[in-house]
Subunit: 106 residues, 6 copies
Protein backbone atom coordinates (compact mmCIF):
# COMPACT_ATOMS: atom_id res chain seq x y z
CA UNK A 1 0.00 0.00 0.00
CA UNK A 2 1.52 3.24 -1.16
CA UNK A 3 -0.44 5.28 1.31
CA UNK A 4 1.10 4.02 4.49
CA UNK A 5 3.86 6.55 4.74
CA UNK A 6 1.48 9.44 4.58
CA UNK A 7 -1.65 8.24 6.29
CA UNK A 8 -0.69 8.01 9.91
CA UNK A 9 -2.76 9.08 12.88
CA UNK A 10 -2.36 12.74 11.98
CA UNK A 11 -4.04 12.18 8.66
CA UNK A 12 -7.01 10.45 10.27
CA UNK A 13 -7.84 13.70 12.03
CA UNK A 14 -7.46 15.67 8.79
CA UNK A 15 -9.96 13.29 7.18
CA UNK A 16 -12.52 14.00 9.87
CA UNK A 17 -11.97 17.75 9.90
CA UNK A 18 -11.40 18.65 6.28
CA UNK A 19 -12.67 16.09 3.78
CA UNK A 20 -11.74 18.26 0.78
CA UNK A 21 -8.11 18.56 1.88
CA UNK A 22 -7.91 14.86 2.68
CA UNK A 23 -9.31 13.82 -0.71
CA UNK A 24 -6.91 16.13 -2.53
CA UNK A 25 -3.95 14.57 -0.71
CA UNK A 26 -5.20 11.09 -1.61
CA UNK A 27 -5.52 12.16 -5.27
CA UNK A 28 -2.07 13.70 -5.34
CA UNK A 29 -0.57 10.65 -3.67
CA UNK A 30 -2.17 8.36 -6.24
CA UNK A 31 -1.10 10.54 -9.16
CA UNK A 32 2.49 10.80 -7.94
CA UNK A 33 3.21 7.14 -7.28
CA UNK A 34 1.60 6.22 -10.56
CA UNK A 35 4.77 6.68 -12.63
CA UNK A 36 4.39 6.62 -16.40
CA UNK A 37 7.80 5.06 -16.95
CA UNK A 38 9.42 4.59 -13.53
CA UNK A 39 8.03 1.90 -11.26
CA UNK A 40 7.05 2.47 -7.64
CA UNK A 41 10.32 1.12 -6.32
CA UNK A 42 12.45 3.49 -8.41
CA UNK A 43 10.31 6.38 -7.16
CA UNK A 44 10.53 5.16 -3.57
CA UNK A 45 14.33 5.16 -3.69
CA UNK A 46 14.17 8.76 -4.93
CA UNK A 47 11.95 9.64 -1.97
CA UNK A 48 14.51 8.11 0.39
CA UNK A 49 17.27 10.14 -1.27
CA UNK A 50 15.29 13.36 -0.87
CA UNK A 51 14.39 12.72 2.77
CA UNK A 52 18.00 11.82 3.59
CA UNK A 53 19.42 14.81 1.71
CA UNK A 54 17.15 17.11 3.73
CA UNK A 55 18.51 15.57 6.95
CA UNK A 56 14.90 14.98 7.97
CA UNK A 57 15.11 12.06 10.41
CA UNK A 58 11.38 11.48 10.69
CA UNK A 59 10.81 11.36 6.93
CA UNK A 60 13.92 9.23 6.40
CA UNK A 61 12.79 6.64 8.95
CA UNK A 62 9.31 6.54 7.45
CA UNK A 63 10.46 6.19 3.87
CA UNK A 64 13.02 3.49 4.69
CA UNK A 65 10.57 1.47 6.78
CA UNK A 66 7.87 1.66 4.17
CA UNK A 67 10.35 0.78 1.40
CA UNK A 68 11.47 -2.29 3.33
CA UNK A 69 7.99 -3.44 4.26
CA UNK A 70 6.05 -2.66 1.09
CA UNK A 71 8.72 -3.34 -1.50
CA UNK A 72 11.35 -5.51 0.11
CA UNK A 73 13.99 -2.84 -0.49
CA UNK A 74 17.34 -4.05 0.90
CA UNK A 75 20.13 -2.39 2.84
CA UNK A 76 22.35 -2.64 -0.25
CA UNK A 77 19.88 -0.66 -2.33
CA UNK A 78 19.55 1.99 0.36
CA UNK A 79 23.32 2.31 0.67
CA UNK A 80 23.52 2.95 -3.09
CA UNK A 81 20.97 5.73 -2.57
CA UNK A 82 22.92 7.17 0.36
CA UNK A 83 26.10 7.27 -1.71
CA UNK A 84 24.38 9.78 -3.97
CA UNK A 85 23.33 11.73 -0.86
CA UNK A 86 26.96 11.74 0.31
CA UNK A 87 28.27 13.09 -2.98
CA UNK A 88 25.60 15.72 -3.58
CA UNK A 89 24.77 16.74 0.00
CA UNK A 90 27.77 15.86 2.15
CA UNK A 91 28.72 13.94 5.27
CA UNK A 92 26.23 15.62 7.62
CA UNK A 93 23.05 14.25 6.01
CA UNK A 94 24.86 11.04 4.98
CA UNK A 95 25.88 10.20 8.53
CA UNK A 96 22.40 10.85 9.87
CA UNK A 97 20.78 8.65 7.21
CA UNK A 98 23.41 5.93 7.59
CA UNK A 99 22.64 5.67 11.27
CA UNK A 100 18.93 5.31 10.47
CA UNK A 101 19.64 2.69 7.78
CA UNK A 102 21.70 0.72 10.30
CA UNK A 103 18.66 0.52 12.55
CA UNK A 104 16.00 -0.12 9.93
CA UNK A 105 18.01 -2.78 8.10
CA UNK A 106 19.86 -4.45 10.95
CA UNK B 1 31.48 9.70 -18.59
CA UNK B 2 30.28 10.02 -15.05
CA UNK B 3 32.63 12.84 -14.29
CA UNK B 4 31.17 15.47 -16.52
CA UNK B 5 28.77 16.95 -14.02
CA UNK B 6 31.47 17.59 -11.50
CA UNK B 7 34.58 18.34 -13.47
CA UNK B 8 33.89 21.71 -14.99
CA UNK B 9 36.31 24.59 -15.30
CA UNK B 10 36.27 25.17 -11.56
CA UNK B 11 37.61 21.69 -10.92
CA UNK B 12 40.47 22.19 -13.38
CA UNK B 13 41.81 24.91 -11.13
CA UNK B 14 41.43 22.71 -8.04
CA UNK B 15 43.47 20.04 -9.82
CA UNK B 16 46.32 22.49 -10.38
CA UNK B 17 46.22 23.97 -6.91
CA UNK B 18 45.45 21.02 -4.65
CA UNK B 19 46.22 17.62 -6.13
CA UNK B 20 45.29 15.77 -2.93
CA UNK B 21 41.84 17.34 -2.79
CA UNK B 22 41.28 16.72 -6.48
CA UNK B 23 42.25 13.06 -6.25
CA UNK B 24 40.00 12.51 -3.23
CA UNK B 25 37.05 13.96 -5.14
CA UNK B 26 37.79 11.70 -8.10
CA UNK B 27 37.93 8.69 -5.75
CA UNK B 28 34.69 9.61 -4.03
CA UNK B 29 32.98 10.20 -7.35
CA UNK B 30 34.08 6.79 -8.61
CA UNK B 31 33.03 5.04 -5.41
CA UNK B 32 29.62 6.70 -5.33
CA UNK B 33 28.51 6.05 -8.91
CA UNK B 34 29.73 2.48 -8.65
CA UNK B 35 26.49 1.13 -7.17
CA UNK B 36 26.55 -2.41 -5.82
CA UNK B 37 22.94 -3.08 -6.79
CA UNK B 38 21.56 0.08 -8.38
CA UNK B 39 22.79 1.00 -11.84
CA UNK B 40 24.13 4.44 -12.78
CA UNK B 41 20.83 5.55 -14.27
CA UNK B 42 18.85 4.75 -11.11
CA UNK B 43 21.42 6.72 -9.09
CA UNK B 44 21.33 9.59 -11.58
CA UNK B 45 17.57 9.94 -11.22
CA UNK B 46 18.06 10.12 -7.45
CA UNK B 47 20.61 12.90 -7.94
CA UNK B 48 18.07 14.81 -10.06
CA UNK B 49 15.46 14.37 -7.33
CA UNK B 50 17.83 15.68 -4.68
CA UNK B 51 18.94 18.70 -6.73
CA UNK B 52 15.32 19.55 -7.57
CA UNK B 53 14.14 19.09 -3.99
CA UNK B 54 16.81 21.53 -2.82
CA UNK B 55 15.54 24.10 -5.35
CA UNK B 56 19.13 24.38 -6.57
CA UNK B 57 18.76 25.57 -10.17
CA UNK B 58 22.39 25.17 -11.10
CA UNK B 59 22.65 21.59 -9.84
CA UNK B 60 19.28 20.69 -11.36
CA UNK B 61 20.29 21.95 -14.80
CA UNK B 62 23.60 20.11 -14.59
CA UNK B 63 22.13 16.83 -13.45
CA UNK B 64 19.35 16.88 -16.05
CA UNK B 65 21.69 17.77 -18.90
CA UNK B 66 24.19 15.11 -17.93
CA UNK B 67 21.40 12.53 -17.51
CA UNK B 68 20.08 13.32 -20.97
CA UNK B 69 23.46 13.34 -22.67
CA UNK B 70 25.23 10.48 -20.90
CA UNK B 71 22.30 8.14 -20.33
CA UNK B 72 19.56 9.15 -22.72
CA UNK B 73 17.22 9.89 -19.83
CA UNK B 74 13.87 11.10 -21.20
CA UNK B 75 11.46 13.84 -20.20
CA UNK B 76 8.97 11.17 -19.08
CA UNK B 77 11.48 9.70 -16.66
CA UNK B 78 12.35 13.12 -15.26
CA UNK B 79 8.67 13.98 -14.78
CA UNK B 80 8.26 10.77 -12.75
CA UNK B 81 11.15 11.98 -10.59
CA UNK B 82 9.64 15.44 -10.21
CA UNK B 83 6.33 13.96 -9.09
CA UNK B 84 8.16 12.60 -6.05
CA UNK B 85 9.67 16.06 -5.53
CA UNK B 86 6.17 17.57 -5.68
CA UNK B 87 4.78 15.21 -3.06
CA UNK B 88 7.69 15.29 -0.64
CA UNK B 89 8.91 18.88 -1.12
CA UNK B 90 6.02 20.89 -2.51
CA UNK B 91 5.10 23.17 -5.39
CA UNK B 92 7.96 25.64 -4.93
CA UNK B 93 10.81 23.28 -5.86
CA UNK B 94 8.55 21.35 -8.26
CA UNK B 95 7.71 24.44 -10.30
CA UNK B 96 11.34 25.49 -10.49
CA UNK B 97 12.48 22.04 -11.63
CA UNK B 98 9.57 21.69 -14.07
CA UNK B 99 10.61 24.90 -15.79
CA UNK B 100 14.17 23.59 -16.10
CA UNK B 101 12.95 20.22 -17.43
CA UNK B 102 10.88 22.05 -20.04
CA UNK B 103 14.03 23.72 -21.31
CA UNK B 104 16.39 20.73 -21.12
CA UNK B 105 13.93 18.31 -22.73
CA UNK B 106 12.12 20.55 -25.21
CA UNK C 1 -7.53 34.00 -9.33
CA UNK C 2 -5.69 31.86 -6.86
CA UNK C 3 -4.29 29.65 -9.57
CA UNK C 4 -2.04 32.14 -11.25
CA UNK C 5 1.05 31.52 -9.21
CA UNK C 6 1.05 27.84 -9.94
CA UNK C 7 -0.37 27.49 -13.42
CA UNK C 8 2.29 28.95 -15.65
CA UNK C 9 3.47 27.58 -18.97
CA UNK C 10 5.07 24.58 -17.28
CA UNK C 11 1.74 23.49 -15.88
CA UNK C 12 0.09 23.69 -19.30
CA UNK C 13 2.36 20.93 -20.49
CA UNK C 14 1.64 18.83 -17.39
CA UNK C 15 -2.07 19.17 -18.19
CA UNK C 16 -1.55 17.78 -21.67
CA UNK C 17 0.76 14.97 -20.60
CA UNK C 18 -0.66 13.80 -17.28
CA UNK C 19 -4.29 14.71 -16.69
CA UNK C 20 -4.45 12.81 -13.37
CA UNK C 21 -1.48 14.69 -11.94
CA UNK C 22 -2.82 18.01 -13.17
CA UNK C 23 -6.26 17.45 -11.66
CA UNK C 24 -4.76 16.43 -8.32
CA UNK C 25 -2.72 19.64 -8.22
CA UNK C 26 -5.82 21.68 -9.00
CA UNK C 27 -7.71 19.89 -6.21
CA UNK C 28 -4.92 20.41 -3.71
CA UNK C 29 -4.60 24.05 -4.66
CA UNK C 30 -8.33 24.58 -4.16
CA UNK C 31 -8.35 22.75 -0.84
CA UNK C 32 -5.36 24.66 0.49
CA UNK C 33 -6.43 28.20 -0.31
CA UNK C 34 -9.88 27.46 1.02
CA UNK C 35 -9.04 28.30 4.64
CA UNK C 36 -11.64 27.41 7.25
CA UNK C 37 -10.77 30.37 9.46
CA UNK C 38 -7.96 32.31 7.77
CA UNK C 39 -8.79 34.27 4.66
CA UNK C 40 -6.84 34.02 1.40
CA UNK C 41 -4.80 37.13 2.14
CA UNK C 42 -3.59 35.84 5.51
CA UNK C 43 -2.58 32.57 3.82
CA UNK C 44 -0.89 34.45 0.99
CA UNK C 45 1.29 36.41 3.42
CA UNK C 46 2.33 33.10 4.98
CA UNK C 47 3.29 31.79 1.53
CA UNK C 48 5.45 34.90 1.01
CA UNK C 49 7.13 34.33 4.38
CA UNK C 50 7.89 30.70 3.51
CA UNK C 51 9.26 31.51 0.05
CA UNK C 52 11.42 34.31 1.47
CA UNK C 53 12.67 32.18 4.38
CA UNK C 54 13.76 29.50 1.90
CA UNK C 55 15.75 32.14 -0.03
CA UNK C 56 13.93 30.95 -3.14
CA UNK C 57 14.02 33.99 -5.45
CA UNK C 58 11.71 32.57 -8.07
CA UNK C 59 9.00 31.60 -5.59
CA UNK C 60 9.38 34.89 -3.71
CA UNK C 61 8.93 36.97 -6.86
CA UNK C 62 5.90 34.92 -7.89
CA UNK C 63 4.20 35.08 -4.52
CA UNK C 64 4.80 38.82 -4.10
CA UNK C 65 3.58 39.64 -7.61
CA UNK C 66 0.49 37.52 -7.26
CA UNK C 67 -0.21 38.99 -3.79
CA UNK C 68 0.03 42.51 -5.21
CA UNK C 69 -2.07 41.82 -8.29
CA UNK C 70 -4.74 39.52 -6.91
CA UNK C 71 -5.12 40.95 -3.42
CA UNK C 72 -3.71 44.45 -3.46
CA UNK C 73 -1.14 43.51 -0.85
CA UNK C 74 1.04 46.55 -0.09
CA UNK C 75 4.76 47.03 0.50
CA UNK C 76 4.04 47.78 4.16
CA UNK C 77 2.36 44.42 4.63
CA UNK C 78 5.19 42.60 2.90
CA UNK C 79 7.77 44.38 5.06
CA UNK C 80 5.92 43.18 8.16
CA UNK C 81 6.20 39.65 6.77
CA UNK C 82 9.89 40.07 6.03
CA UNK C 83 10.55 41.24 9.58
CA UNK C 84 9.46 37.79 10.74
CA UNK C 85 11.79 36.27 8.13
CA UNK C 86 14.64 38.41 9.47
CA UNK C 87 14.10 37.30 13.06
CA UNK C 88 13.53 33.60 12.40
CA UNK C 89 15.78 33.04 9.38
CA UNK C 90 18.41 35.80 9.39
CA UNK C 91 19.89 38.50 7.21
CA UNK C 92 20.73 36.28 4.23
CA UNK C 93 17.15 35.44 3.22
CA UNK C 94 15.91 38.83 4.49
CA UNK C 95 18.26 40.79 2.23
CA UNK C 96 17.37 38.70 -0.79
CA UNK C 97 13.63 39.12 -0.21
CA UNK C 98 13.97 42.83 0.58
CA UNK C 99 15.65 43.39 -2.77
CA UNK C 100 12.78 41.58 -4.50
CA UNK C 101 10.18 43.57 -2.55
CA UNK C 102 11.90 46.80 -3.58
CA UNK C 103 11.40 45.82 -7.22
CA UNK C 104 7.87 44.42 -6.99
CA UNK C 105 6.55 47.31 -4.90
CA UNK C 106 8.51 50.26 -6.27
CA UNK D 1 4.59 38.52 26.18
CA UNK D 2 6.24 38.39 22.82
CA UNK D 3 9.58 37.50 24.28
CA UNK D 4 8.75 34.10 25.62
CA UNK D 5 9.62 32.10 22.53
CA UNK D 6 13.09 33.51 22.37
CA UNK D 7 14.13 34.12 25.93
CA UNK D 8 14.55 30.66 27.35
CA UNK D 9 17.27 29.49 29.68
CA UNK D 10 19.85 29.75 26.92
CA UNK D 11 19.21 33.46 26.57
CA UNK D 12 19.64 34.04 30.30
CA UNK D 13 23.24 32.96 29.97
CA UNK D 14 23.76 35.20 26.93
CA UNK D 15 22.48 38.11 29.01
CA UNK D 16 25.07 37.48 31.68
CA UNK D 17 27.93 36.91 29.28
CA UNK D 18 27.34 39.39 26.50
CA UNK D 19 25.09 42.31 27.42
CA UNK D 20 25.56 44.01 24.03
CA UNK D 21 24.42 40.93 22.11
CA UNK D 22 21.50 40.40 24.45
CA UNK D 23 20.30 43.99 24.14
CA UNK D 24 20.55 43.86 20.35
CA UNK D 25 18.39 40.72 20.27
CA UNK D 26 15.82 42.39 22.52
CA UNK D 27 15.78 45.43 20.22
CA UNK D 28 15.41 43.33 17.10
CA UNK D 29 12.67 41.28 18.70
CA UNK D 30 10.76 44.41 19.65
CA UNK D 31 11.19 45.97 16.22
CA UNK D 32 10.09 42.83 14.40
CA UNK D 33 6.90 42.06 16.31
CA UNK D 34 5.92 45.70 16.13
CA UNK D 35 4.21 45.41 12.74
CA UNK D 36 3.20 48.65 11.04
CA UNK D 37 0.13 47.13 9.41
CA UNK D 38 -0.01 43.47 10.41
CA UNK D 39 -0.93 42.62 13.99
CA UNK D 40 1.08 40.29 16.22
CA UNK D 41 -1.20 37.34 15.54
CA UNK D 42 -0.82 37.60 11.76
CA UNK D 43 2.95 37.74 12.21
CA UNK D 44 2.87 34.80 14.61
CA UNK D 45 1.07 32.62 12.09
CA UNK D 46 3.77 33.49 9.56
CA UNK D 47 6.43 32.43 12.08
CA UNK D 48 4.64 29.09 12.50
CA UNK D 49 4.55 28.63 8.73
CA UNK D 50 8.27 29.34 8.43
CA UNK D 51 9.24 27.00 11.30
CA UNK D 52 7.04 24.23 9.88
CA UNK D 53 8.30 24.71 6.33
CA UNK D 54 11.87 24.34 7.59
CA UNK D 55 10.90 21.03 9.25
CA UNK D 56 12.41 22.44 12.44
CA UNK D 57 10.60 20.53 15.21
CA UNK D 58 11.96 22.57 18.07
CA UNK D 59 11.02 25.91 16.53
CA UNK D 60 7.63 24.59 15.43
CA UNK D 61 6.76 23.39 18.93
CA UNK D 62 7.87 26.67 20.43
CA UNK D 63 5.98 28.86 18.00
CA UNK D 64 2.78 26.82 18.27
CA UNK D 65 2.86 26.74 22.07
CA UNK D 66 3.53 30.44 22.33
CA UNK D 67 0.80 31.19 19.76
CA UNK D 68 -1.69 29.15 21.75
CA UNK D 69 -0.74 30.58 25.13
CA UNK D 70 -0.12 34.22 24.29
CA UNK D 71 -2.71 34.73 21.58
CA UNK D 72 -5.27 31.98 21.92
CA UNK D 73 -4.48 30.71 18.42
CA UNK D 74 -6.66 27.68 17.66
CA UNK D 75 -6.02 24.35 15.97
CA UNK D 76 -8.18 25.47 13.03
CA UNK D 77 -5.98 28.51 12.44
CA UNK D 78 -2.82 26.43 12.62
CA UNK D 79 -4.26 23.88 10.15
CA UNK D 80 -4.92 26.73 7.71
CA UNK D 81 -1.26 27.70 8.09
CA UNK D 82 -0.10 24.11 7.57
CA UNK D 83 -2.14 23.84 4.38
CA UNK D 84 0.10 26.54 2.91
CA UNK D 85 3.13 24.57 4.14
CA UNK D 86 1.77 21.46 2.40
CA UNK D 87 1.31 23.22 -0.93
CA UNK D 88 4.58 25.16 -0.96
CA UNK D 89 6.88 22.74 0.88
CA UNK D 90 5.35 19.27 0.58
CA UNK D 91 4.24 16.33 2.67
CA UNK D 92 7.51 15.87 4.58
CA UNK D 93 7.39 19.13 6.55
CA UNK D 94 3.56 19.05 6.60
CA UNK D 95 3.43 15.66 8.28
CA UNK D 96 6.00 16.64 10.87
CA UNK D 97 4.15 19.84 11.73
CA UNK D 98 0.76 18.14 11.73
CA UNK D 99 2.00 15.68 14.33
CA UNK D 100 3.21 18.57 16.49
CA UNK D 101 -0.09 20.42 16.07
CA UNK D 102 -1.96 17.30 17.15
CA UNK D 103 -0.01 17.33 20.41
CA UNK D 104 -0.08 21.07 21.10
CA UNK D 105 -3.78 21.46 20.32
CA UNK D 106 -5.21 18.17 21.55
CA UNK E 1 33.66 48.66 7.32
CA UNK E 2 31.76 45.70 8.60
CA UNK E 3 28.43 47.09 7.49
CA UNK E 4 28.96 46.99 3.78
CA UNK E 5 27.61 43.53 3.19
CA UNK E 6 24.33 44.33 4.84
CA UNK E 7 23.69 47.97 4.11
CA UNK E 8 22.95 48.04 0.42
CA UNK E 9 20.29 50.07 -1.31
CA UNK E 10 17.54 47.92 0.19
CA UNK E 11 18.62 48.89 3.68
CA UNK E 12 18.55 52.58 2.82
CA UNK E 13 14.83 52.32 2.27
CA UNK E 14 14.35 50.41 5.53
CA UNK E 15 16.13 53.26 7.32
CA UNK E 16 13.70 55.80 5.91
CA UNK E 17 10.61 53.72 6.53
CA UNK E 18 11.28 51.99 9.85
CA UNK E 19 13.95 53.64 11.99
CA UNK E 20 13.40 51.22 14.89
CA UNK E 21 14.00 48.18 12.69
CA UNK E 22 17.02 49.77 11.08
CA UNK E 23 18.62 50.66 14.41
CA UNK E 24 18.06 47.17 15.76
CA UNK E 25 19.79 45.67 12.71
CA UNK E 26 22.71 48.05 13.18
CA UNK E 27 22.94 47.05 16.86
CA UNK E 28 22.80 43.35 16.08
CA UNK E 29 25.40 43.73 13.37
CA UNK E 30 27.74 45.54 15.74
CA UNK E 31 27.22 43.01 18.52
CA UNK E 32 27.79 40.02 16.23
CA UNK E 33 30.99 41.11 14.54
CA UNK E 34 32.38 42.17 17.87
CA UNK E 35 33.77 38.75 18.77
CA UNK E 36 35.01 38.26 22.32
CA UNK E 37 37.74 35.82 21.30
CA UNK E 38 37.51 35.39 17.53
CA UNK E 39 38.59 38.24 15.33
CA UNK E 40 36.52 39.70 12.50
CA UNK E 41 38.36 37.69 9.86
CA UNK E 42 37.73 34.36 11.56
CA UNK E 43 34.06 35.28 11.83
CA UNK E 44 33.96 36.40 8.20
CA UNK E 45 35.29 33.05 7.01
CA UNK E 46 32.52 31.37 8.99
CA UNK E 47 29.96 33.59 7.27
CA UNK E 48 31.37 32.55 3.88
CA UNK E 49 31.10 28.89 4.88
CA UNK E 50 27.47 29.33 5.94
CA UNK E 51 26.47 31.21 2.79
CA UNK E 52 28.20 28.63 0.59
CA UNK E 53 26.72 25.68 2.50
CA UNK E 54 23.23 27.14 1.97
CA UNK E 55 23.93 27.32 -1.80
CA UNK E 56 22.87 30.98 -1.60
CA UNK E 57 24.65 32.59 -4.55
CA UNK E 58 23.77 36.15 -3.66
CA UNK E 59 24.99 35.86 -0.07
CA UNK E 60 28.11 33.94 -1.14
CA UNK E 61 29.10 36.62 -3.65
CA UNK E 62 28.52 39.36 -1.12
CA UNK E 63 30.45 37.68 1.67
CA UNK E 64 33.39 36.80 -0.57
CA UNK E 65 33.62 40.27 -2.08
CA UNK E 66 33.41 41.97 1.28
CA UNK E 67 36.00 39.56 2.74
CA UNK E 68 38.38 40.34 -0.11
CA UNK E 69 37.88 44.08 -0.01
CA UNK E 70 37.64 44.75 3.72
CA UNK E 71 40.04 42.12 5.02
CA UNK E 72 42.27 41.10 2.15
CA UNK E 73 41.06 37.51 2.38
CA UNK E 74 42.78 35.42 -0.30
CA UNK E 75 41.62 32.70 -2.67
CA UNK E 76 43.65 30.16 -0.68
CA UNK E 77 41.79 31.00 2.52
CA UNK E 78 38.44 30.77 0.79
CA UNK E 79 39.35 27.39 -0.73
CA UNK E 80 40.15 26.10 2.76
CA UNK E 81 36.67 27.25 3.80
CA UNK E 82 35.05 25.60 0.79
CA UNK E 83 36.77 22.31 1.60
CA UNK E 84 34.75 22.22 4.83
CA UNK E 85 31.63 23.00 2.79
CA UNK E 86 32.45 20.08 0.48
CA UNK E 87 32.85 17.62 3.33
CA UNK E 88 29.85 18.69 5.39
CA UNK E 89 27.43 19.78 2.65
CA UNK E 90 28.49 18.03 -0.57
CA UNK E 91 29.40 18.73 -4.16
CA UNK E 92 26.28 20.71 -5.06
CA UNK E 93 26.96 23.71 -2.81
CA UNK E 94 30.74 23.27 -3.21
CA UNK E 95 30.60 23.54 -6.99
CA UNK E 96 28.38 26.61 -6.86
CA UNK E 97 30.66 28.36 -4.38
CA UNK E 98 33.81 27.31 -6.23
CA UNK E 99 32.49 28.94 -9.39
CA UNK E 100 31.84 32.15 -7.45
CA UNK E 101 35.29 32.05 -5.85
CA UNK E 102 36.85 31.67 -9.29
CA UNK E 103 35.20 34.92 -10.34
CA UNK E 104 35.76 36.93 -7.17
CA UNK E 105 39.40 35.89 -6.82
CA UNK E 106 40.50 35.64 -10.45
CA UNK F 1 42.29 12.79 15.61
CA UNK F 2 40.35 14.53 12.89
CA UNK F 3 38.43 11.42 12.00
CA UNK F 4 36.41 11.04 15.14
CA UNK F 5 33.44 13.07 14.07
CA UNK F 6 32.89 11.01 10.98
CA UNK F 7 34.00 7.52 11.86
CA UNK F 8 31.37 6.32 14.26
CA UNK F 9 29.77 2.90 14.36
CA UNK F 10 27.96 3.52 11.10
CA UNK F 11 31.25 3.99 9.29
CA UNK F 12 32.61 0.71 10.65
CA UNK F 13 29.92 -1.12 8.73
CA UNK F 14 30.65 0.85 5.57
CA UNK F 15 34.29 -0.20 5.88
CA UNK F 16 33.33 -3.87 5.95
CA UNK F 17 30.79 -3.62 3.15
CA UNK F 18 32.33 -1.18 0.70
CA UNK F 19 36.07 -0.72 1.02
CA UNK F 20 36.28 1.59 -2.00
CA UNK F 21 33.68 3.97 -0.57
CA UNK F 22 35.30 3.91 2.85
CA UNK F 23 38.76 4.68 1.48
CA UNK F 24 37.44 7.55 -0.62
CA UNK F 25 35.80 9.09 2.47
CA UNK F 26 39.06 8.75 4.40
CA UNK F 27 40.93 10.44 1.53
CA UNK F 28 38.43 13.25 1.29
CA UNK F 29 38.49 13.74 5.04
CA UNK F 30 42.28 13.97 5.03
CA UNK F 31 42.36 16.36 2.08
CA UNK F 32 39.72 18.65 3.58
CA UNK F 33 41.13 19.09 7.05
CA UNK F 34 44.56 19.63 5.58
CA UNK F 35 44.16 23.37 5.05
CA UNK F 36 46.81 25.14 3.01
CA UNK F 37 46.51 28.37 4.98
CA UNK F 38 43.82 27.85 7.62
CA UNK F 39 44.61 25.61 10.56
CA UNK F 40 42.40 22.76 11.74
CA UNK F 41 40.81 24.82 14.47
CA UNK F 42 39.74 27.60 12.10
CA UNK F 43 38.21 24.97 9.83
CA UNK F 44 36.52 23.26 12.76
CA UNK F 45 34.81 26.48 13.81
CA UNK F 46 33.52 26.82 10.25
CA UNK F 47 32.12 23.27 10.44
CA UNK F 48 30.32 24.20 13.67
CA UNK F 49 28.87 27.30 12.00
CA UNK F 50 27.61 25.25 9.05
CA UNK F 51 26.06 22.53 11.22
CA UNK F 52 24.38 25.12 13.44
CA UNK F 53 23.14 27.18 10.47
CA UNK F 54 21.50 24.05 9.03
CA UNK F 55 19.71 23.47 12.36
CA UNK F 56 21.10 19.95 12.29
CA UNK F 57 21.19 18.95 15.96
CA UNK F 58 23.08 15.72 15.47
CA UNK F 59 25.86 17.32 13.42
CA UNK F 60 26.03 20.33 15.77
CA UNK F 61 26.47 18.12 18.83
CA UNK F 62 29.14 16.06 17.11
CA UNK F 63 31.10 19.03 15.83
CA UNK F 64 30.99 20.85 19.16
CA UNK F 65 32.01 17.78 21.14
CA UNK F 66 34.85 16.95 18.81
CA UNK F 67 36.00 20.60 18.80
CA UNK F 68 36.06 20.62 22.58
CA UNK F 69 37.79 17.28 22.94
CA UNK F 70 40.28 17.38 20.09
CA UNK F 71 41.12 21.06 20.05
CA UNK F 72 40.15 22.48 23.41
CA UNK F 73 37.70 24.87 21.77
CA UNK F 74 35.98 26.96 24.45
CA UNK F 75 32.41 28.12 25.00
CA UNK F 76 33.50 31.69 24.22
CA UNK F 77 34.81 30.67 20.81
CA UNK F 78 31.64 28.76 20.02
CA UNK F 79 29.48 31.72 21.04
CA UNK F 80 31.44 33.92 18.61
CA UNK F 81 30.62 31.36 15.92
CA UNK F 82 26.95 31.27 16.88
CA UNK F 83 26.74 35.06 16.66
CA UNK F 84 27.50 34.72 12.96
CA UNK F 85 24.80 32.03 12.74
CA UNK F 86 22.35 34.41 14.41
CA UNK F 87 23.04 37.23 11.99
CA UNK F 88 23.10 35.19 8.79
CA UNK F 89 20.55 32.47 9.61
CA UNK F 90 18.29 33.81 12.35
CA UNK F 91 16.98 33.00 15.79
CA UNK F 92 15.63 29.54 14.96
CA UNK F 93 18.99 27.86 14.27
CA UNK F 94 20.73 30.12 16.81
CA UNK F 95 18.47 29.06 19.65
CA UNK F 96 18.84 25.39 18.81
CA UNK F 97 22.63 25.63 18.68
CA UNK F 98 22.79 27.77 21.82
CA UNK F 99 20.93 25.09 23.74
CA UNK F 100 23.41 22.48 22.50
CA UNK F 101 26.38 24.70 23.39
CA UNK F 102 24.99 25.14 26.89
CA UNK F 103 25.06 21.37 27.34
CA UNK F 104 28.39 20.64 25.67
CA UNK F 105 30.21 23.47 27.43
CA UNK F 106 28.50 23.53 30.83
Amino acid sequence: MKEEVFYGKGMQKVKEEDEELYQSIVSLNNAVWNGKVLDYKAQKLIAIGIAASNADSRATVRQMMSAKKELGVTREEVIDVLKVVLLTSGMQPFNKALQIANKVFE
